[in-house]
Amino acid sequence: MTNQELKLKSIEYRKKILKYIYHAKAGHTGGSLSCVDILNVLYNKVMNVSPANFDDPGRDRYVQSKGHSVEALYVVLADVGFFPEEDLLTLCRYKSPYIGHPTRKVRGMEQNTGALGHGLAICAGNALAAKKDNLPLNVYTLLGDGEMAEGSNWEAMMLAAHYKLDNLCAILDYNKQQITGANADVIGLEPLRQKVEAFGWAVKEVDGHDVEAMADLLNNAPFEEGKPSFLIAHTIKGKGVSFMEKVLKWHHGVPSPEQYELALSELDRELEKLTVQV
């Protein structure tokens, strides 16, 4: 897939995220818009996982530790063929498997997540098992910045470094905001890079909306042999819709009909611009 195609997909994904959240009248809008470029790159450019190999023990593993941004994941999984996209019209409806957090009831999901600070330790277990069995696969997890306050994440960081799990890559959706406000006001996370490095991980930073740069970095993981990789992806909460960007209420805000039309027209303009460039 070319970088141009990836960029187009990112915009299409954003439109779909909004569509299904708008339809369900529920969802984590801001976080889904901030992490969707990361998921785009992982599923379309980096990971060896698809509906065709999903039952193969040798597939790459992805666990979404920040489970609440599930709408982005649903849209990407549908696009790569795990289930028909129309299924998402049932999002959060009675008895729908498409609930507000990932569950294995949906094909393509590896683990049930939702409570924060759980994904990394599970991934460390996946990565260690793969090493024991000499399976040349990689394990990826997406962390939220708010959930970095969970002590279990730091336990898992110690663990992964101790076992030299260089087949493990954690990506932080660093949008600098959480439900109450700025991370820095809620509970200071900085200096993050130094903390993660001090825990024995190899760290790189990237613009979390630059699909090309992320694909380059992730395809060259591990960043350092014998160390787990930590990619700090600097992102913008609500990215792609001007009135949602960095505005706290869009953490789980649902657009009104007017806001929805406005958001779509902004994204359509981006799509046009990108197509004209070609």
Partner: protein, 323 residues
């Protein structure tokens, strides 16, 4: 039947020996410890099968999360830690990473109940049945003796679903196998027949019921049935209802809070099925638990041959309706 610690083997030792036997035959057996290798008597296991043991340090949340990650890759992961930490500090990881995500981890709660009696409430696990009974998709087992421990470990290893197994560290005599020679997770074992009353107990509280039954028979001419209800969840409903059908008193005994454990599970089952047998739950009351050795604590709360005998006599008295 006295408990001379020296001549009996703790269930803990039987557990570690069984793990070695399993690991020898199956390279997918993995033991995960949280600096609990020594307390779990797993040092020989670690020496013999270094590739099949994973240390996570004193980090019970990661113990369970890591074990879930191993299990989801097809490993038979046994997460071993004192029951008090495993089922309290790591509970959200048990609930989400193991049971909800259906990763078939075997959670091994060592030194359970008041095994660490003198160390105080931080080290007691008197809540574990209660919390795990209320969480879907986990089997809860407390074997009473060496035989049940060995069998429980072997069967748990073959189960494709989450299991919590807990036991203590005191030497345990092997109890009667005459009536129920087989052990099967989910099926209680009758280890003594009797028509005057029934003891339904689990884990290390079964032995004092046997002792009480001895005294009741020798000194009072009362014959007590003793059931080892090693599987607290799912409960062997059939066996309990059958035991209650003669209308005689029922006494439950467990090394657990009287709230939410085996006793309340049995009471609920009986009441909802119309049984009104005289009934008493023996366990640890809702108070700051007295400290001392496990035996002393058992005695203090009447989980002893003498204490259970008195409870039984009281209940068998026609005029007494409650324990």
């Amino acid at each position: 039947m006295g408990i001379a610690n020296s001549k009996y083997v703790p269930n803990l030792i039987v557990f570690s020996e069984t793990m070695q036997a399993l690991a020898e035959l199956d390279k997918d057996i993995m033991v995960v410890t949280s600096d609990s290798r020594g307390s779990g008597k797993l040092v020989p296991f670690g020496e013999q099968y270094p590739d099949q043991i994973v240390e996570v340090g004193i980090a019970e949340q990661n113990l369970v999360g890591m074990a879930a990650g191993l299990a989801s890759m097809g490993k038979k992961a046994f997460a071993v830690s004192p029951a008090c930490f495993l089922t309290a500090r790591a509970l959200e990881h048990v609930k989400n990473d193991v049971t909800y995500s259906d990763n078939p981890v075997k959670l091994i709660g060592i030194s359970a109940g008041v095994s660490y009696g003198a160390l105080g409430s931080t080290h007691h696990s008197l809540h574990d049945f209660a919390v795990l009974r209320a969480i879907h998709n986990i089997t809860v087992v407390a074997p009473c003796d060496n035989f049940e421990t060995t069998e429980a470990i072997k069967q748990a290893a073959e189960m494709d679903s989450p299991v919590y197994l807990r036991f203590g560290k005191k030497g345990m005599p092997t109890l009667n196998r005459e009536f129920d020679p087989e052990f099967k997770i989910g099926k209680g074992r009758t280890i003594r027949q009797g028509e005057n009353l029934t003891f339904i107990a689990t884990g290390e509280a079964v032995l004092p019921c046997e002792e009480a039954a001895d005294i009741l028979e020798e000194k009072h001419g009362l014959k007590a049935r003793v059931i080892s209800m090693h599987t607290v969840k799912p409960l062997d409903k059939e066996l309990i209802l059958q035991a209650a059908s003669n209308g005689q008193p029922i006494i439950t005994a467990e090394e657990h809070s009287i709230h939410g454990g085996l006793g309340e599970a049995v009471a609920s089952l009986l009441f909802q099925n119309g049984f009104r047998n005289k009934f008493k739950i023996v366990g640890l009351p809702d108070e700051y638990t007295v400290t001392g050795s496990q035996v002393e604590i058992f005695k203090h709360y009447g989980i002893s041959g003498e204490g259970l005998m008195k409870t039984a006599l009281h209940l068998c008295e026609p005029s007494n309706t409650v324990g």
